[in-house]
Symmetry: C2
Subunit: 333 residues, 2 copies
């Protein structure tokens, strides 16, 4: 199939904002009691400080940074939700130094809210003396991330270096920059993460969620519970599409799913794509628009699981922009 | 002493940027070997994934977000370095929802770089299977932070609520928002933090560091080691001023120190302020401008240790702006 770019390239370099800032949502205050005060030397040569660990602490809150374009496109706020092991950083500059989807969607006129899921990045986590999560977090190695991102075949060049396939869209020459943004993740914090994301949509009001990988499972659960507020869903390589529960009778949230290349090389992604298509069918049966786009089927080859960071990320953002413009009502409508 | 605002209030609401984005600096790659692969269920209902913990990991890198004004004031890039237990978040929106120093300095025309020190926020930290830091991090309780920020006397009102002094500049009605940004800190990571900050100034080039509390001790050490790059230092309530080593013969970095109110209520801060004045004397003896301003002595009362978040933060930023304009050479000069 021939592929023609759906929107014109973004030539604007500057970003004019009516406002930008950050806030926290959700979380709960817990009390620590019965511990002994102790003396701490915060750095060599500094004056010692006596710390009393007893008292109140905030846990499970979520950090959100927002950017409001001076001239917006009339669309609803776009909430960017990252995947597992990441922070909101993945929406900013790409590993090879180009505009990420934060800048691209701002330049397309969308108000953008970029958050760090509970436990990650600037949301913080409950270390000692807080003892609320019994499990330890983990991180993924460079090799593990590379092997699971479905980058297609690798070859060894004449210098003995491992090289990705010629059509690969991920900028592997900057893979180290990508991995520096990888952070610890817990696998038993779903309810806390979900509570904070729910608090976010309640604070922002009518909005569209654009989520990738693990973030997509939270997006579906929040959209299904609060379909009065969530007006559109974009699921980019969702690790899980839909909550697994039947949709309520009044669910009318348009959904766009996007999948990259080499799906057939990983049975887990064959299943994830099938589940997303089933989810689209379920949404359509409620009368809302729903579509799952396989990028290779529209002529874009070589995209991996890390689409927002890839060489053609602006073109893919353009596809999303056009779909949202066509399928999600604006506040004034 | 009568106090007159040193610069006119900022009335501009919008922010016009030539660019914004983020990157990582510093860090090192370490290898994990000899561990058993294990199966992980990332969320209930998801397809199980086999994780191989062996391989390479990045540790001790630092996250940096930058904002470049479309019309800058001709000054050098301003690097904002937070204090202990914080992230770059403290420079963004204040707890009570006003412009923080990131926005204020951007509106004054400075290119601004806002980072999360190694181990905090989006810089990530080396959890399992990485075993490079033997110590556990800790967090500070709401009460501990409040008691150590030198907020002046508190009183109990007719409803039994604890109320700050009438002149207190910290927005205590929003103290919970402030505490939600509090993150774990290690006290044995100074060398890693310092290495990453050094990598930052080497990447940015000639620059000014504006640092607060713990960040100020790193700022001094970096400025003393790289006085060829660091062209100005602003130390806001420095926990430690100067590296403790004699200044080199060619050290010519202008330094402004700022202290808030109620210094005399905490012997540690009496000492910190004295040390900063000694540091100013040492810098002046090298022929560079150096000044320590006690805000109450110029007519501003009620500022605590958390100056960048306080009600008069824009006015204090104006004092810093004027001092930098008067004392730090511009790139074109």
């Amino acid at each position: 199939m021939n592929h023609e770019p759906l929107v014109k390239p973004i030539t604007e370099k500057s970003i004019h904002l009516s406002d930008m800032g950050s806030f926290y949502v959700g979380g709960r205050k817990i009390k620590v009691e019965g511990q002994e005060p102790h003396e701490v030397l915060f750095s060599p040569g500094a004056t010692p400080v006596t710390i009393n660990p007893n008292g109140d602490y905030w846990v499970e809150q979520m950090y959100v940074q927002y950017f409001l374009p001076k001239s917006d496109n009339g669309g609803l706020p776009l909430l960017l939700w990252h995947g597992g092991g990441s922070t909101g950083n993945i929406w900013e500059t790409t590993p090879d130094g180009r505009d990420g989807w934060l800048n691209v969607f701002l330049k397309l006129g969308w108000p953008v809210y970029c958050s760090d899921a509970v436990e990650r990045g600037r949301s913080g986590w409950p270390c000692s003396p807080l003892d609320i999560w019994k499990e330890q977090p983990s991180r993924a190695s460079c090799q593990d991330v590379r092997d699971r991102m479905r980058a297609g075949p690798f070859t060894v060049d004449d210098d003995g270096c491992v090289q990705p396939n010629a059509d690969c869209q991920f900028p592997f020459e900057s893979f180290d920059n990508h991995m520096k943004g990888n952070v610890p993740r817990w696998i038993t914090t779903d309810e806390a993460v979900l509570a904070a994301y729910t608090a976010l949509v309640e604070r922002v009001g009518p909005c569209i969620i654009l989520a990738t990988s693990q973030g997509a499972s939270f997006a579906c659960r929040v959209a299904e519970a609060r379909s009065d507020i969530v007006r559109g869903l974009v699921l980019v390589e969702p690790a899980q599409a839909g909550s697994g529960q039947p949709l309520s009778d009044d669910f009318r949230v348009p959904m766009l799913g996007l999948f990259g290349d080499y799906i057939e090389t990983d049975p887990r992604w064959v299943l994830n794509q099938k589940n997303c298509r089933d989810y689209a069918d379920a949404i359509q049966s409620k009368g809302a628009a729903a579509e799952v786009i396989s990028l290779p089927e529209i002529g874009l080859s070589g995209n991996t699981h890390c689409m927002p960071c890839e060489r053609n990320n602006a073109e893919i953002a353009g596809i999303i922009h056009q779909w949202l413009t066509d399928n999600v009502s604006r506040p004034s409508e």
